[in-house]
Amino acid sequence: MSSDQRTVSRLSSTLVPELARFQVELGAYVPDHLISGVTDELRDRPGFQLVAAAREDEGLAILAGAYTAGTRGVMLMQSSGFGLCLNAIASLLLPYQIPVPMIVGLRGGIGEFNVAQLAGGQSVAPVCASLGIPYAAPASFEILSAILPGMLKTCFSTGRPVCVGIQRSLAA
């Protein structure tokens, strides 16, 4: 869809300007329908490069390499793919103190139909807690707007990944 045909989602109109304010110029993603409005907007955004990765840990590595070379990036993925990221986070982002905000579409919550999504989706918060990664899954756009600047400030000021979980209620 071209940008003139698309109505910008409320999720992307909340996230994208804030990422720009923090000089994020690169994105990597593996598709997720909950946050596809954000990736659609980033793909067409002037001055922004969006890379389609084959796997989520690979996306984090691309962003880590870019950060060590002077470019800030954001990772967009689904909670199922977050499960592939432990090695990249634990052995790369954390020891090298590489900041990457991770925007994660959350499966496995209330209303989930697929049993294969339950444990993975429910594990995002405790995995982040066990790694010392700041995590929030805001319940409304108002809360998302309120926490996002702080999450990004903590990410880039302290040199560590942060994770924002996007619940189904924010996907519309």
Binding site: A53, A54, E58, A61, I62, A64, G65, T68, A69, Y96
Partner: protein
């Protein structure tokens, strides 16, 4: 001896060729033997020495290449690491940054865990994977002369390239005690920002 009757590739011959042929490279060596071999021989070259990121070396190199299009990025990958991240080969094949030279030091062995055979010991050809993933150039360099020739072809016409260099498995010796990852990153970032983008 290689099929063409030349000497065999070694860590020393391969790294010396990269240093001699590629001007002002940014180096991304795979964790373990490649980082150890590079640190032992060329400790002051700008390199993102890896102690982690198993299977992700080439993807890191891709990110560096995208962020610094004016610099040549040389990934010094390992066969085991690359086999773990074949999806990342496809992503490089999609983007094909001309400043990315992807060298694979293929000792057909898991070098950090005692030299157990990797899949390349059973005939898997990583340069064929790269070719199938649309790398513009993907070649095998059986000996030092072929390796130098491949690097010179890259310099003459920079296109996203994989060069697979088979070498015998051998313990490169203990890794020198390098700086902590956070200092490696600091120095690499400073090198990358030394010349601002035009």
């Amino acid at each position: 001896m290689s099929e063409r009757g030349e000497e065999t590739n070694t860590y020393g011959s391969l790294l010396a060729a990269v240093v001699d042929e590629i001007a002002d490279p940014l180096l991304v060596p795979n964790l373990g033997t490649n980082t150890a071999a590079l640190m032992a021989r060329y400790p002051t070259l700008p390199a993102l020495h890896l102690w982690g990121g198993m299977g992700l070396t080439h993807s890191l190199g891709l990110g560096v290449a995208l962020a610094r299009p004016e610099r040549t990025v040389v990934v010094l990958d390992g066969d085991g690491s690359l086999l773990m991240g074949l999806g990342g080969v496809a992503t490089i094949g999609v983007l094909r940054p001309p400043n990315l030279l992807h060298v694979v030091l293929d000792n057909a062995a898991w070098g950090n865990t005692g030299g157990q055979p990797t899949h390349t010991a059973s005939g898997v050809r990583l340069e064929d994977v790269a070719a199938a993933c649309a790398y513009p150039v993907a070649v095998r360099a059986g000996g030092p002369a072929e390796f130098v020739e491949a690097l010179r072809r890259y310099v003459a016409e920079p296109r996203c390239t994989m060069v697979v260099a088979p070498l015998p498995y051998g313990d490169p010796g203990p890794a020198p005690r390098g700086p902590e990852p956070v200092l490696i990153k600091r120095d690499f970032l400073a090198e990358c920002l030394r010349n601002p983008r035009a």
